[in-house]
Amino acid sequence: MLTFLRRRIASSALPLVVVILGVFCLARLTGDPGNLYLPLSATPEMRAEFAARHGFDQPLFVQFGDYLTQVFRLDFGESLRTAEPAADAVLRAFPATLQLAGATMILAILGAVVVGSWAAYRPNSVADRVASFTSTTAASMPDFWFAIMGVLVFAVALGWLPTSGTEGAAAWVLPVLTLLIRPFGVLVQVVRGAMVTALSAPYIKVARSKGAGEVRVVFGHALRNAAPPALTVAGDLTVGLVNGAVVVETIFGWPGIGKLMITSILQRDFAVLQAAVLVTAITIFALNIVIDACYALLDSRVRQGVTT
């Protein structure tokens, strides 16, 4: 298991550097920060002085080299906008996003397991059809539209929920629902499909022949066999939540990393943007490793590298 983890971590290092390089170059295509931070009347000397102070006068590869060395010393540079260390800004925003994404995925997975298993238990029953219809609708719902409609109906018209912010449980309802709806819909369909296959497997009959009750059959025997495909998709959807977070955090004024990224792109705040992307990328790589580890825990054949 340890070798397994070490190998996975080592193989993630190079893609990580590529991501950093990509963001580094693309961020600089947005234009000269001097145009934003200096007055319109700034003289060429002032602009040159600003660029020199922040290292923007160096060739791109020198800037990148300097940046990488700094990153290895855990120095992510300073925000152009607030002059605070970029790492501070990112670490302040990141927990808000993690909480939102975590709450969303836990609810989506729990809900999908219950609804998907229920639908798969009797294929083509009324319950199954209702679940299929609901999940297809949920999976095809545009999240920004849902978010805006949610605000209009529940916050503006009915006044039950706040329009934005993080204060109190009520503030969580709309952001979580908005992020949840698509992953939930997709996961219900994946869980249902995998459970239909698992429940028709011969070992299910064998379990019943031992006198196992239906709860034991469905959750003890079938679900664990149905878990790998659901896990793959859940991992993918969690990565997608970061994208979703940009939209949701902007609409609901959620002080997370998505909102921070948008702000730092608009402000050409390269250091903060780079730090935010770096932290997000590391999280996604870590998530993939966790998912692989979960496979191995679920199925000994993965652990031992058996190919059947």
């Binding site: 009797r122 497997a201 011969p202 070992y203 009959k205 064998v206 379990a207 019943r208 022949s209 031992k210 006198g211 196992a212 009750g213 034991r216 025997h221 664990r224 066999n225 679920l298 199925d299 000994s300 054949r301 058996v306 059947t308």
Partner: protein, 334 residues
């Protein structure tokens, strides 16, 4: 063991009475098992013999209550020690699944759960029915593995099904089925997926366990050699119905149904190289359109007009023998 002595000698432990099973298909409901009756006593082996699709597995699954969702019992009774299982609630049936009736399935490769250790799977009957602790149930699992001849059971109890050979997996399935010493054990083609030497070992194991536990064994097979070696009685099935029953020695030496005779004649014995092997012409009828009268008549060498008009029923054709052929007497004089 003490329970078993309460059963009067001679009284069947399992009686299947005019069992009927229907299957829903896109083309309509068909009767896959019709009026099947048989009984078996403790310590005895009954073979259900027939080609694929004749309804023998369906009969077994109906008896243990594990039919696929498309199939359901349409009539009849399955009495275990006099209690009709078909009238019990699902919870009551579950309590009998293991200690009352048990089944060994044919495909050992897929019948074990791939993500659980074999120890956990073997311990499950004890956990469910005897509410044993994990540790105690695991100990029983090791004992079971030892009993069915798995080498180093204490070490292999933590192994997964894919780490066992086909023969060993079949042994595990048998261990699972006999864990709670069932009164009736059904074995559905237990050796079909295995190679010949392993087949013999598995049959030997089943025989030992039957004797040890005084189990009534119902062997579902298409293999006449297995029937001849293992069974006391045989019931031959064709197109969802029993066509002949009797003691194995009687039926095999003097079949009273042309289908049974066809099966026996199809076994190649002392055939010179180059001779065409005997077989029964034609194929079994489609269940959607079983012909009138006798279902076998289209393939039968001795069929006459009466066979198309009247459906033959099982009639007594000698001591402890039944035949569903209008002309069984002709066959018995051959």
């Amino acid at each position: 063991m003490s329970e078993r002595n309460d059963t009067e000698p001679g009284r069947p432990v399992l009686e299947v009475d005019r069992l009927a099973v229907d299957i829903r298909t896109p083309a309509g409901t068909v009767r896959a098992v019709r009026e099947v009756s048989f009984s078996v006593r403790s310590g005895e082996t009954l073979a259900l013999l027939g080609e694929s699709g004749c309804g023998k597995s369906m009969t077994a699954q109906a008896v243990v209550g594990l039919l696929d969702p498309v199939a359901h019992v349409a009539g009849g009774a399955v009495r275990l020690d006099g209690t009709d299982l078909l009238t019990l609630s699902p919870a009551q049936r579950r309590r009998l699944a293991g200690p009352g009736l048990s089944i060994v399935f044919q495909d050992a490769l897929t019948a074990l759960n791939p993500v659980q250790t074999v120890g956990a799977q073997l311990a499950e009957p004890f956990r469910i029915h005897q509410r044993l602790s994990r540790r105690a149930a695991r100990k029983r699992a090791v004992e079971l593995m030892e009993r069915v001849g798995i080498p180093e059971p204490a070490a292999r109890v933590r192994a997964y099904p894919h780490q066992f050979s086909g023969g060993m997996r079949q042994r595990l399935l048998i261990a699972l089925a006999v864990a709670l010493q069932p009164k009736v054990l059904l074995a559905d083609e237990p050796t079909t997926a295995l190679d010949v030497t392993v087949q013999a070992q598995i049959m030997e194991l089943l025989r030992e366990l039957r004797t040890e536990q005084q189990t009534a064994l119902i062997l579902i097979t298409h293999d006449l050699a297995v029937v001849a070696e293992q069974a006391d009685h045989v019931a031959v099935m064709y197109a969802g119905a029993i066509v002949e029953t009797g003691r194995v020695a009687d039926v095999f030496s003097r079949p009273h149904h042309p289908y049974t005779r066809g099966l026996i004649d199809s076994v190649p014995a002392d055939v010179a190289r180059g001779t065409i092997l005997k077989s029964i012409p034609g194929s079994p009828p489609d269940l959607h359109s079983v012909p009138s009268g006798c279902a076998f008549r289209a393939r039968c060498p001795i069929a006459r007009d009466v066979c198309a008009e009247q459906r033959p029923v099982l009639v007594e054709a000698g001591p402890k023998r039944l035949s569903a052929c209008h002309h069984w007497r002709e066959l018995s004089h051959d």
